[in-house]
């Protein structure tokens, strides 16, 4: 097993170099750099811009910049570079964003497994029943709703709900049943820890629902297909023939086999942390990775962009590795040497 992991890591090196190089080139292909805008500022002298460019190595050719950046990355502790816009180490500003996204990703993954697997089992066991058809149909609809549009609709509904609640209970004009965006209430910094935690949970409720709704649809269909495959196997017939109750044969024989890819899929949460939950963060104003990445892209904050991609790459690779190891752990037929 140890040699397998080592070999996997060595195999990942070319992909890592290739992907970072590709990202570096794509980012640098866009005209200008962070300091181009500064040239238009009458308060900044062109010499200053020139000096800053030299300081950050932006006057070097792309491949030299890449190698210099890689040199920083190979140091201990690894240097992701320096953000021009925030004048801080990239790692320090990226970390809180990743943690914010993590709240959504972890919560929605948890909810996903909790809901999708039982529904999938239910649909498969009652294949072609009315309930199965309804679940399938709803899954299709949810699969087809763009997440940003779903978020917009949720905001609309929340606003209606808040207005209705204010009228019904004679609340103040700022009272909210559910927040329409953001991660914290204003003034929450002074609150005690447990209250701040609840506040974040309260804000996360709708984004998590929106993120999960789409994934649940896909997962349910996948779980249903898995379960149907397993239910058609010979050992299921054997289990029933030897007189096991339907419950035992489904939960002990079928489920354990059908759920294998889901257990292995847990590894894919890690890269999700950095790619974030995409549009939902933008629409619902969640201070996660995606809005931050878009900002950095607009201001051409080179090392912030590459930094996020590197964190994402490393997490993706670790996640894939964990998935494979978990797969070997839950499925005795799979062995790595």
């Amino acid at each position: 097993m140890g040699t397998y992991i080592l070999r996997r890591i060595i195999q990942l090196i070319p992909t890592f170099v290739g992907a970072t190089l590709l990202a570096f080139i794509i980012i640098q292909l866009s005209p200008g750099d962070f300091f181009t805008e500064k040239l238009l500022d009458p308060k900044v002298r062109p010499e200053t811009v020139q000096r800053l460019r030299e300081q950050f190595g932006l006057n070097q050719p792309i491949y030299v910049q890449y190698l210099l950046w890689m040199k920083g990355l190979l140091q201990w502790p690894p240097q992701l570079g320096y953000s021009f816009a925030y004048q801080q180490d990239v790692w320090q500003i990226a970390l809180p964003r990743v943690l914010n996204s993590m709240i959504l990703v972890v919560a929605s993954t948890f909810l996903l497994y909790l809901v999708a697997i039982p529904i999938g089992i239910f649909s498969a066991v009652r294949q072609y029943s009315l309930a199965d058809r309804v679940v399938s149909f709803i899954s299709y609809i949810f699969l087809s709703i763009p997440s940003f549009f779903f978020a917009l609709i949720m905001i609309f509904l929340i606003l209606q709900l808040n207005y209705a609640a204010r009228d019904a209970f004679h609340l103040s004009n700022n009272a909210q049943i559910l927040p329409v965006g953001g991660m914290t209430s204003s003034g929450s910094e002074a609150w005690p820890g447990w209250k701040r935690f609840l506040d974040v949970l309260w804000h996360a409720l709708i984004p998590v629902l929106v993120v999960t709704a789409r994934d649940i649809a896909g997962f349910t269909r996948f779980m249903r297909g898995q379960m149907l495959d397993v239910l058609g196997q010979d050992y299921m017939r054997t289990a029933r023939a030897k007189g096991l109750s339907e419950r035992v044969s489904i939960y002990k024989h079928a489920l354990r086999n059908a759920v294998i890819p889901f257990v292995a899929g847990i590894g894919s949460i890690l890269p999700g942390l950095v790619s974030g939950v995409g549009f939902v963060e933008v629409v619902m104003n969640w201070p996660g990775v995606t809005p931050f990445y878009l900002d950095a892209l607009n201001s051409k904050d080179l090392y912030v962009l590459t930094g996020f991609l590197v964190i994402g790459l490393v997490l993706l690779m670790i996640g894939n590795l964990i998935s494979d190891l978990l797969l070997a752990w839950v499925d005795p037929r799979i062995r790595y040497y």
């Binding site: 992909t15 290739g18 005209p31 190698l67 040199k71 917009l152 609709i153 209606q160 950095v274």
Partner: protein
């Protein structure tokens, strides 16, 4: 006997008959196909189905953020049924929010909704081939018919949705075609030539063997020059890097070692052992590298290569190519797998043994085997591309005015801030069209997959 044959033959229908019958059994897929037929007809005859031009608005009287016109079917005085009509509206400003409010102005009389109205001031073309000014619905001026309200300029939302369908629905197909051309070509090459590396150089030692002609000498000269240039490039980069970093580090050691290794490999290839490159390795490595970067990030980063304010038509093509580029990797992987397994089939080996050329084997054996898969994935890739386009446009990185797309319409819905939602909920309508189109494509794709898959036949 003669009468009995049709009955016995009914079991042996042709493959396409079986697939068609199977497809029709999938009720949702048939509905998906019907919905798509309606949507694409709407896109094709956008001028006819819209009530106004997509960018038409009157500066006076202004009609910004006009709610959907209320269509009356009963005469308000007598209560009797009548032809559908609308009233003209009068605009006032809400004193608190400064938002426009519209109230029906019955003094101007009724404006009956006419079918097949001519609008000479707003001509349109169908595919730029046929001119026309005939529209399905319309009212006489100064009455105005806003079936789904207006945007913040006063442009009719229904007309914009209809015109937007042209972009939103075609970009999905075009982008999938781009990724299919890439995925099929590269995946096919990777699968077909896997394990058969191409020789990229002709070593000097091989040239002096008997039977080497002038053409081989020419080829050797060209390839040798190319490889020498690559060596020079590697050395130049290494030297420059060492100059910039001044100082010893682990990385500089690695870089020097890598450069020396590469130069040695090429030099060996030029002298004794030909350099062989397996296209399968190259292509599959690129797929791996591309899929290591999250799709959304790759998409918006690629889009950022060009300034946001580029020409609207160019941005349309750019988005198409980018969406196609994002999707090719997964497809290439699967095409490669299919081709690899087909290549090892006995009938392909037989064809090879009979002396069939590569071209013939690809055209007659490999392509038909992958065709089924291609049709299915094409129909399943289109909704993804539609989703991608709407997302990019929503972020303001996609389609731009004066072109219209559903994603762009939703972007302008969000622009007014959260408060604008409760005042004018009709701006959310374009989103439902996105959902409808994607649902229909998903149904169609699923039905096709079931119809083509022999294991799923009922």
């Amino acid at each position: 006997m003669a009468q009995a044959t049709p009955r016995t033959l009914s079991a042996s229908r042709t493959r396409s008959q079986v697939i068609w019958a199977q497809f029709r059994k999938h009720r949702l897929a048939v509905w998906g196909a019907r919905i798509l037929l309606v949507l694409y007809t709407m896109a094709l005859f956008a001028g006819f189905f819209s009530t106004y031009d997509a960018n038409y608005y009157e500066t006076y009287p202004p009609s910004n953020n006009h709610p959907p016109s209320k269509i009356h079917f009963r005469d308000p005085d007598t209560g009797a049924w009548s032809r559908p009509f609308v009233y003209a509206t009068k605009r006032t400003l809400d004193e608190l929010t400064l938002q426009p409010r519209y109230i029906e102005d019955k003094s101007q009389g009724k404006f009956y909704i006419h079918f097949f109205v001519r609008t000479p001031d707003q001509p349109y073309t169908i595919l730029r081939l046929f001119r026309g000014d005939l529209r399905l619905l319309g009212v006489d001026k100064p009455g105005r018919l806003f079936l789904m309200g207006t945007d913040n300029f006063g442009r009719d939302l229904w007309s914009r949705i209809v015109y937007g369908s042209q972009v939103s629905l075609t970009i999905g197909i075009l982008a999938s075609i781009v990724s299919f051309i890439l995925g099929l070509a590269l995946g096919g090459v990777a699968g077909f030539y896997s394990g058969r590396p191409a020789t990229m150089s002709l070593p000097l030692t091989h040239l002096f063997q008997p039977g080497v002609g002038a053409r081989a000498w020419l080829g050797a000269a060209v390839s040798t020059l190319l490889w020498l240039a690559i060596i020079a490039g590697i050395i130049a980069i290494t030297v420059q890097f060492l100059q910039v970093t001044h100082g010893f580090s682990l990385l500089s050691l690695i870089v020097v070692a890598l450069a020396a290794w590469a130069v040695w490999g090429i030099a060996r290839g030029l002298l004794w052992k030909p350099i062989r490159i397996d296209p399968d390795d190259v292509i599959m490595r690129s797929v791996e590298i591309q899929s290591a970067i999250p799709d959304l990030f790759l998409l918006i980063t690629l889009r950022a290569i060009f300034p946001p304010s580029i020409d609207a038509l160019f941005s349309f093509y750019l988005i198409t190519v980018l969406l196609g580029f994002i999707g090719w990797g997964g497809l290439a992987r699967i095409v490669r797998g299919t081709v690899l397994s087909t290549r090892e089939q006995d009938y392909v080996t037989a064809a090879q043994a009979l002396g069939a050329s590569d071209r013939r084997i690809i055209a007659h054996h490999i392509l038909p085997a992958t065709a089924t898969y291609v049709i299915i994935s094409l129909s399943l890739a289109v909704p993804g591309a539609i989703l991608g386009e709407s997302g990019l446009s929503f972020l303001g990185l996609g389609i731009r005015d004066p072109y219209v797309s559903w994603g762009l319409l939703l972007q302008s819905a969000q622009e007014g801030g959260f408060a604008s939602f409760t005042d004018r909920p009709w701006v959310l309508i374009p989103g439902f069209f996105i959902v409808l189109a994607i649902v229909a494509w998903n149904f169609l794709g699923d039905g096709l997959r079931d119809a083509f898959d022999p294991r799923k036949r009922q």
